[in-house]
């Protein structure tokens, strides 16, 4: 892959300020391709993932789940399970000592179902036994008497149906009214679009180990995205004060939004406290598909109005997300979907209604791209339709309408940060196109690969283009902060050693690398120790989601470095009885500027310096009744151009290349940024052509990697990425987040390319072979 950098706009000096004179330090700096400190442990198998934990005498947990999407539970008989040798506990709803429900925003989901189940796979009982096979047998032995109900599975029918939950069937309706709702354009295009349910499919299964503690509390070692919010939910359901519930981050095997909600955390702690023994639980892949929320399926209607020249006049949109049985983060997902429904374009007038509703389908919540992904399929298809209707180049139409700094979103918010939309378009469009398909090339390179393989003469190539917009961090007035503690002490040889204590969940994104780079940048310290992340050790870092940790946890660590430096200066000033501004700091040394007296840091590190800092990003505001307000912190933009080969007769697609320009603010670790871009594109390609949780009247039909396909090495195209670097004002080091944009417009670009190759309207993803091969050519 080519990895070029372009620098857009005015580059201001990064706020890292001089760390003193450059001395011989090899500390990693911000902007370096620093390698991951956990890389070798991971590559050698020594890294401790949550499913690798083991402690003497531990039991194995197991969940019993509902086979019905909707049913009344008439009775549960656990006696046959308890009678099995090796079974220690079988818990049901009656055994939850504290709050019987949990949830990220509103606790509307039972820890264990009581008298009703609302989705296929809802937990009904939890078992602990001394062997996983015993636990499986025990779960199977529990007798649940269900009275199946007709499930509510059509989100469009949710509002007109009797409530399936005491909180009703509407999670949120978000209207956006901007400008003149009666405005019309001379060119009008309309369309309906649909997005299927995608799974995060992180590879490390949900797993953890709960250990009962002497104080009557519990220690939970678990893979999660947000330790503190898990802790609060666990403690509430256990009926314990939060101090007695200590969560420790165990190695996380990917997340992508799927670990933001509680899965097995409460069950594990209940079992450990009931049995007095440590309990480990590891979901099978099958159970993982039931054990976490998914990306919301979407149905969208759009009508775009433009002038004859192609300037957007108004956008009308109705977006319906299926939230599934429980709320999770649905309210925030619909907010993104509605706010970013137009895409990264200047739209003076808008009438947008976003709805997210409750059904008896699996609960949906956070997944990489979070609401922006679904609407991107809509707004980008509309831009192509509009270009065709006007007769202009679709890329030129996008550039013509692209947002600039100073423009307003349809929420009325003025964009004051970096808005390099044209730059990302130019960067992606300028990448060289791949060579034409070689008819004599290897069969495996054709659509279908080694199996059902296309004939070279049936292959058509198509090219598609798409843009995306996504917010960084939490919005709508949420106090989105992170905490960092930093300790500086003298090592055995007098060298400074910095210990970083953050609760930031390392889920694979590489914050652990960045932490060392920030300390290296700010203090020049080479030896940086990352302490284990836990709720008892430090305050919340917020969630590893919304592309926010580089900004927020990075900001907290930058503040902590500054505080450590200030304390060093203050100690030197005391020692020398001089003003602090007479003290100069360089890595490992201090100097008094008037007398040129010198001191090593080691002399001043008894006792060690220890600071704790909290970083809050600029406050955001709630949206008003018309969906207007400065609800978002900052925006990220990306452009993707996809090239596909399609066999129209067989309906097979091969994605050949994805070129991208991504607005990253500033790349703090270009190698890791590249990894985020390539990985995000894989998930975008997956949604476009293969990934969908298939539901049959509320039942999940494909909970396995045999039937839910994610891209392999043979499915992944060549990625050609350009990092567009225009520092974001107000962001630590000028860096925006980078994780989500590649997962947003990559898929819509692929879909556009398939439309280009086939001439079919294709308005639903993922595109299946039958959608192409069996399509009515008359449209």
């Amino acid at each position: 892959m080519a990895r070029d950098n372009v620098v857009a706009g005015a580059t201001s000096a990064p706020p890292g300020e001089a760390t003193g004179t450059a001395t011989a330090t090899v500390a990693p700096r911000v902007g370096d391709d620093a390698p991951r400190p956990d890389g070798i442990p991971k590559a050698t198998g020594r890294f401790a993932f949550s499913s690798d934990l083991w402690i003497d005498g531990m039991l194995w947990g197991r969940t019993l789940r509902s086979p019905h999407p909707a049913a009344r539970v008439r009775s549960i008989d656990v006696a046959p399970a308890l009678a099995l040798p090796g079974v220690w506990a079988v818990l049901t709803a009656a055994d939850v000592p504290g709050r019987p429900t949990f949830g990220l925003e509103v606790p509307d989901q039972p820890v264990l179902a009581g008298d009703v189940v609302r989705y296929h796979g809802e937990p009904v009982a939890a078992v602990a036994a001394d062997h996983p096979e015993t636990a499986r047998a025990a779960a199977e032995a529990v007798i649940v008497d269900y009275e199946p109900l007709t499930p509510l599975v059509d989100p469009a029918a949710a509002l007109g149906s009797p409530p399936i939950h005491p909180d009703g069937n509407l999670f949120r309706h978000l209207p956006i009214r901007h400008g003149d709702p009666g405005a019309t354009g001379t060119v009008v295009v309309e369309g309906e679009y649909e997005v299927g349910m995608q799974d995060q499919a992180f590879l490390g299964p949900e797993s953890g180990l709960a250990v009962p503690a002497d104080d009557g509390g519990v220690d939970l070692y678990v893979a999660t995205q947000w330790l503190h919010v898990d802790r609060d939910q666990v403690a509430a359901s256990l009926g314990l004060p939060v101090e007695r519930v200590r969560l420790h981050l165990a190695g996380v095997g990917g997340a992508f939004g799927g670990r933001e909600d509680v899965s097995l955390q409460i069950h594990l702690c209940l079992l450990a406290l009931r049995t007095g023994r440590p309990v480990k639980m590891v979901y099978s892949r099958d159970e993982s598909f039931f054990g976490h929320v998914h990306r919301h399926p979407a149905r969208m209607w759009y009508r775009h109005h433009a002038t004859a020249e192609g300037d957007l006049v108004k956008i009308e949109a109705r977006i319906l997300l299926d939230g599934g049985a429980y709320l999770s983060s649905s309210n925030a997902v619909i907010s993104n979907a509605a706010c970013f429904a137009p895409g990264p374009y200047r739209v003076p007038n808008a009438v947008i209604d976003g709805y997210v509703v409750r059904t008896n389908n699996p609960p949906c919540g956070a997944m990489r791209g979070f609401g922006s992904v679904q609407v991107c399929y809509g707004h980008e298809a509309q831009m192509d339709k509009l270009a065709a209707a006007i007769g202009v180049d679709p890329v030129a139409l996008r550039a013509r309408n692209a947002l600039h700094r100073g423009d307003r979103l349809v929420t009325g918010q003025v964009l004051t940060g970096a808005v390099p939309v044209r730059e990302v378009i130019r960067a992606a469009a300028a990448r060289p196109l791949p060579a034409p398909a070689d008819p004599d090339g290897p069969v495996i390179a054709r659509p279908g690969g080694a199996g059902l393989t296309a004939d070279p003469e049936d292959i058509t190539r198509g090219v598609g283009f798409a843009l995306s917009i996504k917010n960084v961090a939490y919005s709508e007035g949420y106090d989105d902060y992170a905490t960092a503690r930093l300790r500086l002490e003298a090592g055995a040889g007098g060298e400074p050693v910095a210990t970083v204590v953050v609760a930031t969940a390392e889920v694979g994104q590489g914050f652990v690398t960045l932490a060392g780079q920030i300390v290296g940048e700010e203090l020049g310290v080479e030896r940086v120790v990352l302490a284990p992340a836990g709720t008892a050790e430090v305050g919340s870092a917020g969630s590893s989601s919304a592309s926010r940790q580089t900004w927020v946890s990075g900001g907290a660590l930058q503040l902590a470095c500054a505080a450590v430096r200030a304390e060093l200066v203050s100690r030197a000033a005391s020692k020398w009885a001089c003003p602090t501004d007479a003290v100069e700091v360089s890595p490992g040394a201090l100097r008094r500027s008037d007398t040129l007296e010198r001191a090593g840091w080691a002399e001043l590190l008894h006792p060690p310096i220890e600071v704790e800092e909290v970083y809050h990003h600029r406050p955001t505001r709630a949206l008003d009744a018309d969906g207007q307000g400065d609800a978002h912190l900052a925006m990220m933009f990306a452009a993707h151009r996809a090239v596909v080969d399609v066999d129209r007769g067989l309906g097979l697609v091969r994605v050949v290349q994805v070129a991208t320009g991504q607005d990253v603010g500033r790349a703090l670790n270009p190698l890791q940024v590249t990894g985020q871009i390539e990985g995000g594109i894989a998930q975008g390609v997956g949604l476009a052509v293969m990934e969908e949780i298939v539901l049959d009247t509320g039942r999940v039909r494909n909970p396995s990697f045999t039937d839910y396909l994610i891209p392999t090495t043979l499915d992944m195209p060549v990625v050609d990425a350009v990092l567009v670097q225009e520092p974001e004002p107000g962001a630590p080091y000028g860096a925006k987040g980078v994780g989500e944009p590649p997962a947003i417009s990559s898929g819509p670009a692929v879909l556009a390319a398939i439309r280009d190759a086939t001439g079919l309207p294709l308005s639903r993803v993922p595109v299946r072979p039958a959608d192409i091969a069996l399509a009515d050519p008359s449209g």
Binding site: W54, D130, T674, G679, M716
Partner: protein
């Protein structure tokens, strides 16, 4: 009340402590048939497996009884390659082999490839090229890449993609992993290795 300290067997950081082997399920009646004791030769060492359920996979035995968690458990149905090990020199998914069926066989895990140094350049390249993110697939890739390059040092990019298509990665999109493979190929050629 004193706050419970981290139990000694639970790793405090990234490195797993040396795990005790020979973990047994406590005695007593079982709702399942127990396997007879059998031996596996794992990373050159003969290990005895006793008291297990007859249905335990080789993956479970390695991870939970022999203290070798390097092979991972992402799907446990042979689709993802995260549990790749060498069984008598052939790459298999350890989840799809019964532990008792492997009795007497030679098993090499990522831990074995690490201690012999056979995968050192592959491991270093994966880290250096950015091929490791969450890392859950990484040990399986290390086994598969090491095996591929031993058999086929000059594999073309397409051959590498085909050979590694049984190893799923959800984080990287494979770009940095493929880059690492090509770096190892180049380094080995420079070092005058085979091919």
């Amino acid at each position: 009340m004193p706050v419970e300290q981290r139990p000694p067997d639970v790793p405090a950081g990234w490195d797993l402590p040396p795990a005790p082997g020979g973990r047994e399920t406590p005695g007593g009646d079982r709702p399942w048939p127990t396997a007879e004791a059998y031996e596996l030769v794992v990373n050159g060492e003969t290990r005895e497996v006793t008291g297990g359920w007859v249905g335990e996979s080789l993956l479970f035995v390695l991870r939970e009884r022999l203290g070798l968690p390097g092979a991972k458990n992402a799907c446990e149905q042979g689709e993802c390659g995260s549990c790749s090990v060498l069984l008598d020199g052939v790459v298999v998914c350890a989840c799809c082999v019964l532990g008792a069926d492997a009795a007497g066989a030679e098993v090499t895990t990522v831990e074995g490839l690490t201690s012999s140094g056979a995968a050192a350049d592959v491991q270093a390249a994966l880290v250096g090229a950015g091929g490791v993110q969450c890392g859950f697939c990484t040990p399986g890739f290390v086994v598969a890449i090491t095996d591929l390059l031993a058999r086929s040092p000059d594999a073309t990019e397409l051959e590498v993609r085909e050979a590694l298509s049984g190893n799923l990665c959800r984080c990287t999109g494979y770009g940095r992993i493929l880059e690492a493979v090509s770096e190892v190929q180049a380094e080995r050629r420079m070092a005058g290795g085979p091919g």
